[in-house]
Amino acid sequence: MIEIQNLNVYIKDNHILKNVNVTLPEKQITCIIGPSGCGKSTLLRTLNRLIDTTEEVRLEGRIMVDGQDSLGHDAEVTELRRKIGLVSQRPCPLPMSIFDNVAYGCRINKMFKKRRELIYHVRQNLRAVGLLDEIKGRIRTPAARLSIGQQQRLCLARSLAVQPAYILADEATSALDPISAKTVEDLFVKLKEEYSIIMVTHTLRQALRIADNVVFMYLGEIIESGPAEQVFHHPQHELTQKYLAGAFS
């Protein structure tokens, strides 16, 4: 479980996230929704500390991941990132073969001693995202040769291969064609049995279809959060009602 407590994020002099308090439950899909520029992606990047790569960033507050503060001075950032996988908006295969893309994280984290185990693990993860049969005989070819949809699933397989507990998805289907988007979306639904998924989405319909929990953000603040049924059908806050009604996007 991830508990965000009094989180404030400043980039240069801009106050991007303002006093964020929310709990992200385990083995469910939590969708973060809100208009562009409301801080959804910043929140996601703060969860796995990728925000650290941004210049002049300042973080305040606590993010408790399985009871440990990931913003604390003694936090193991690389281990945190292994634990919280990320699938970004545009698929970004590493400049290597399909096999090496999935094996990359395993090798970095020294997960297997025997090559045979690594090969088995890579194939398992490619199968989990439905890619193994599609790329038969091409597993050693450059990942850049896959279609965009396949690349996105490869990125998901790559994240799964390091055995994370959480998966962050930053508009992971928005750059895909409708069929690929549906495939990836279905995969997330399947994966929630084993992983906690936190998903930023711009598509309300997608959130409606797959979310168990919803967090609505506006101008860096969390306006409303709770079970999807409650937020979508009985929103408490006026801003949420307006957003869901399409008054702004």
């Binding site: 796995n48 990728l50 790569t53 210049e55 690389t78 281990e79 990132r81 292994r82 919280i84 996988g85 990320l86 970004s88 545009r90 970004c92 295969p93 590493l94 400049p95 290597m96 990359y104 994280g105 970095i108 984290n109 450059p142 850049a144 040769r145 990125c155 790559r158 994240s159 390091v162």
Partner: protein, 282 residues
């Protein structure tokens, strides 16, 4: 614009033909192979062996690149992947200044600092006496000269790697160094190779600074502490008196032709390797 483009390409061909025609007299007397492999250099007798100059050029260039490549790579990695903006703010202009310094200044620095250092500090450990005017001095001066060029090129190349690629690696639990080594360097390998070839070409053609520290002794160098006499230094040193002896002008033009061809071969080889890498990754 097409005409101008063709003109610049044609210019290279015209230079090649010009050099070839000027070298023709010396080529009539002896075969190319004999000229390239002979070590005797007696212009008065009409004996022109280019082997010492070719090896001198290759030695000095090799030492320069071996020194400059790791330093430049690590500097560029530090500046693009680790350095804070304030460091970049000071280092980038400094690099530009270094790149723009006239080569004679590097030569003077070599004579005043590197040559005495080799003569007094390094050479006594290995040989009885050395003036310091050696392959090592030429290599160090050349290396230092190409570092700003290489660092600028590498920074340009590393900066072109999409941020998302680094983040993809970091988000799998990789450290920054692992990301640099396994992703950034891998992605930019063709660019690194092309830049290195450019630096090799630059080092091979460098004249004044090398001429001042290489010793200009005709002979095949057998080690870092031997003097050398690279091709550009040969041409520059003897250009004034080339008309005083028969065939001398032609021999010096042949030296220029050798330099031209060697640089051309390096460029072609690197193109071939680049093509193979790109084909493999595409």
């Amino acid at each position: 614009m097409l005409v101008l483009t063709l003109f610049s390409v044609l210019f290279v061909a015209v230079m090649f033909v010009g050099l070839y025609l000027k070298s023709a007299p010396v080529l009539e007397g002896k075969s190319v192979w004999t000229l390239l492999t002979a070590s005797e250099w007696r212009p008065m007798k009409g004996e022109f062996g280019f082997f010492p100059f070719i090896t001198g050029t290759l030695w000095a260039t090799m030492v320069a690149i071996l020194l400059a490549l790791p330093v430049s790579l690590l500097t560029a990695i530090y500046l693009t992947e680790y350095a804070k903006p304030v460091v970049k703010k000071f280092v980038f202009p400094a690099l530009d200044i270094l790149a723009g310094l006239p080569s004679v200044i590097y030569g003077v620095w070599g004579v005043l600092v590197i040559v005495p250092w080799i003569s007094q500090r390094v050479a006594p450990h290995f040989v009885e006496f050395s003036t310091g005017y050696t392959v090592m001095a030429a290599g160090i001066v050349l290396g230092v000269m190409v570092i700003p060029l290489l660092v600028s090129l590498f920074i340009e190349i590393f900066s072109s790697v999409p941020k998302e690629l680094r983040e993809a690696s970091l988000s799998l639990g990789a450290t920054r160094w692992q990301t640099t080594r396994r992703v950034v360097l891998r992605q930019t390998l063709p660019g690194i190779m092309a830049s290195t070839v450019l630096a090799i070409s630059r080092a091979m053609g460098e004249t004044i600074a090398v001429l001042m520290v290489c010793g200009c002794v005709i002979g095949v160098p057998h080690g870092l502490l031997d003097a050398c006499y690279p091709l550009p230094a040969l041409i520059a040193n003897n250009y004034g008196e080339m008309l005083s002896m028969p065939l001398y002008e032609s021999a010096l033009m042949f030296a220029a032709l050798i330099l031209f061809v060697v640089v051309l071969i390096f460029n072609l080889l690197s193109r071939m390797v680049l093509y193979r890498i790109e084909k493999k990754n595409a």
